[in-house]
């Protein structure tokens, strides 16, 4: 009866849109067949394939089957339809901001007891900030694979060319704005004014030749804005533990105002037309951005850069140092047919050998203390030379609130912030819109 219900549900899903019921593991080998659902760009997927090969080599008879989704949304679609179809993958890798909707619906097999019983990996090996992002009521649901944070990638060659001092620990927001302004240049190499503060909001840049390189790349997203709100002593939501709404206080609105000014007042970030034409990562790789705020994810892509040297620096601070957690974890599915095999893979992937392999690919900041301090991660021969920045940022890391409807909240909030940045909306009005348009989503997420 359950199967019939699931089959019908899957048919219903097919009627809603053209999506099917993806299948997962086939016959189990001696050490078990384990399917793992991941997403990423080609460089990231290559890293997972390397891990897969190492695992199959290390564990005789093991067969890891990677299911590769194109992006995060595709991964969520595949996961939900496969759970409904009764054949979920054994494991999936998901960010803490998005796993809540599966945790709330009881689709995840808690890792808590498995971790307590494990002889291969122990809770004390991991950074507590990463572990806690995947805990519900003190119980460990998923096992963090990485613990990145927002940092500033910068083009060393561009800094040297224009004689601008490189960013260093302890720099403030005004330093960052001044640096970005000094790096926003026109085709002649002269400092270009990227915006006319007196122009109508949203009007195209009218002053002089347009910049060919911008000082900063920064996505108008809530996870990019949040660390600056915290850094300024502001609050993002009314209650960090049980949030019911966005509640930006005065310091938060001040940080938001500074954020919006990057485009309208200072003109140091590309316009929305420019951003739609070429995304920030591509612009940075092409030498058109002096700095880019991003997580560790960009490293695999940037390691392919051959034209210039680049490095990373900590985020600039308003008052205190703050940054935002970026962390993905391996989650076992409740419907997995081979939970023991899946856990065995988790032990390998997060153990010294597996974590070292992933660290060497450049994709992750290891979630385990030992590997994060090893040459596999800190090797100065592999950019970024100053990888220590990721580790130094850890004490200042904060996580976005845990709400099961967070994916929807982010989509709505990011749309508001995008219009705010590019069309110079009033910060107070933006704060009001954020609250008004997401309140029902917070309520549904409780």
């Amino acid at each position: 009866m359950m199967r019939l219900a699931r089959a019908l549900a899957c048919l219903a899903a097919a009627a809603l849109a053209a999506a099917g019921c993806s299948s997962s593991a086939g016959d189990a080998g001696p050490a078990g067949t384990v399917s793992l659902l991941v997403f990423g760009d080609p460089h990231e997927l290559a890293a997972y394939r390397k891990l897969e090969a190492a695992y199959e080599n290390a564990v005789p008879g093991a067969d890891l089957r990677l299911i590769e989704a194109s992006d995060r949304k595709d991964l969520i679609t595949r996961l939900s339809t496969s759970i409904a179809g009764g054949k979920p993958p054994d494991l999936f890798l998901m960010n803490y901001r998005f796993y809540g909707q599966f945790a709330k619906r009881n689709a995840i097999e808690p890792a808590h007891d498995l971790l307590e019983r494990s002889t291969a990996i122990h809770a004390r090996d991991f950074y507590p900030q990463a572990l806690s992002a995947f805990q519900v009521d003190g119980r460990q649901l998923c096992m963090p694979q990485n613990m990145s944070s927002l940092v500033v990638y910068y083009n060393k060659a561009l800094f040297a060319k224009h004689g601008v001092a490189e960013p260093k620990a302890g720099w403030g927001w005004p330093d960052m704005v001044a640096t970005a302004a000094a790096l926003t240049r026109d085709a002649n190499g002269d400092v270009a004014k990227g915006a006319d503060p007196d122009a109508m909001p949203g009007a195209p840049v009218p002053t002089g030749p347009p910049p060919v390189s911008y000082g900063l790349g920064l996505s108008p997203e809530i996870i990019r804005l949040a660390p600056f709100i915290w850094s300024n002593g502001g609050t993002l939501v009314d209650d960090d533990k049980r949030p019911t709404r966005f509640a930006l206080d005065e310091p938060a609105i001040e940080a938001l105002s500074e954020f919006i000014d990057l485009r309208g007042k200072h003109g140091v970030v590309p316009t929305d037309q420019e951003k739609e034409s070429q995304d920030d990562e591509a612009r940075f790789a092409a030498g058109g951005l002096g700095m880019l705020m991003s997580s560790r994810r960009s490293t695999t892509t940037f390691r392919k850069i051959t034209g210039f040297e680049w490095d990373v620096a900590p985020l600039p601070a308003h008052r205190t140092q703050a940054t935002v957690l970026h962390s993905d974890a391996y989650c076992l599915t409740k419907g997995s047919a081979n939970k023991a095999g899946a856990w065995r893979f988790v032990e390998f992937a997060l153990g010294k050998e597996g974590a070292t392999i992933m660290a060497e690919t450049g994709r992750t900041v290891p979630s385990t203390v030992e590997v994060s301090r090893s040459p596999a991660f800190l090797d100065p021969a592999k950019p970024p030379r100053n990888a220590q920045v990721f580790l130094d940022s850890i004490p200042a890391i904060r996580a976005t609130p845990a709400v099961s409807t967070w994916p929807e909240i982010e989509d709505v909030a990011n749309g508001i912030l995008e219009n705010a940045l590019y069309y110079g909306h009033q910060p107070r009005e933006v704060a009001r819109q954020l609250d008004e348009q997401t309140r029902s989503l917070f309520e549904r997420g409780r």
Binding site: A13, L16, I76, T77, R105, N106, E418, N419
Partner: protein, 305 residues
């Protein structure tokens, strides 16, 4: 050698209706299992809170109440109706124009017909990705071309301006008219030549021939294509909106109903809510088809097909 009698179907198989039913059976089974069944489940889910993971919870009309107050849904509905109102007549007009232009046998007409049909053969996602490049505001060939003679302020911002983005989606749909074109081309070629000879003898002008001869004779097929395109228009805005504009610029400039449904069902795991939106979409399609059918009937009674 078999006798003639033994080759005759036996018993109930002799009935022509039974034979027809048997031949139709594979299609009917497929239709029932893959379309009717899921559609019925979808209708039922419209009255439920369901995320595909936990059990179904029946909530009556709550999904529809929420839809009625949802800005995103209102925008999606308006966008979809607007798209249908603009894209469907334009697509039909262009296909008709091209069919009338290319129905004669002249040099190069084969190549021209192939060119018109070809974009419909490109897989949808590839077609979307192609347009993502074509409509790139800075480096795309469309704007590069426009920049040669247009003022900078009048150049469309395809991906960042709401109206321009909607126009871009309509523009994309205007090239995938291969099927409509082929049907109209065949219809035009099948029209009896003597009617045109008669019109020529009567000294009818080109426009009069079109108005009094071609259009009435092609009207049944045009009517059918209009209905078909209207139904399809609710669907073919999906891939462009997903691939090219991602439903934006924010908040919902190119979020059409199918994208709204897709997001809620597969990204936010709100299958019941999405099913309710699907039901509204179906009712809208039904209404649009009904209105057009009434119009066609009125036209038909004038010309007595």
């Amino acid at each position: 050698m078999l006798s003639r009698e033994t080759r005759e179907p036996v018993g109930f198989l002799r009935s022509r209706r039974v034979q027809l039913a048997l031949m139709l059976a594979p299609f009917l089974v497929g239709l029932a299992a893959l379309v009717v069944g899921p559609a019925l489940v979808t209708f039922a889910l419209a009255f439920a809170d369901y995320d595909l993971i936990e059990t179904v919870r029946w909530i009556g009309f709550a999904n529809f109440v929420e839809l009625a107050s949802s800005t995103a849904f209102h925008e999606a509905l308006r966008n979809s109706l607007g798209f249908a109102a603009v894209a469907v007549p334009l697509r039909l007009l262009i296909a008709l124009g091209l069919a009338l232009l290319l129905h004669r046998r002249v040099a190069g007409v084969g190549a021209a017909r192939t060119t018109v049909t070809l974009p419909s053969a490109v897989p949808e996602v590839a077609y979307g990705l192609l347009w993502l490049w074509l409509l790139n505001p800075m480096y795309g060939p469309v704007n590069q071309f426009l920049r040669m003679f247009a003022e900078p302020v009048s150049i469309p911002n395809w991906l960042t301006d709401p109206a321009d983005a909607r126009a871009g989606i309509v523009l994309m749909s205007l090239f995938t008219i291969g099927e409509t074109f082929v049907v109209l081309l065949i219809t035009r070629r099948a029209l009896p030549p003597h009617v045109y000879e008669l019109a020529a003898i009567e000294g009818a002008t080109g426009f009069q021939v079109f108005r009094r001869v071609t259009l009435p004779l092609m009207a049944p097929v045009l009517g059918l294509l209009l209905l078909r395109d209207t139904i399809l228009s609710f669907q073919f805005s999906f891939v462009p909106a997903l691939v090219v504009t991602d439903g934006g610029p924010p908040p919902y400039a190119t979020t059409y109903l199918p994208l709204f449904v897709y997001r809620n069902a597969f990204e936010y795991l709100r299958y019941g809510y999405a099913a309710a939106a699907t039901l509204v979409m179906l009712v809208c399609t039904g209404l649009a088809v009904f209105l057009q059918w009434r119009l066609i009937r009125r036209y038909r009674s004038r010309y007595e097909w």
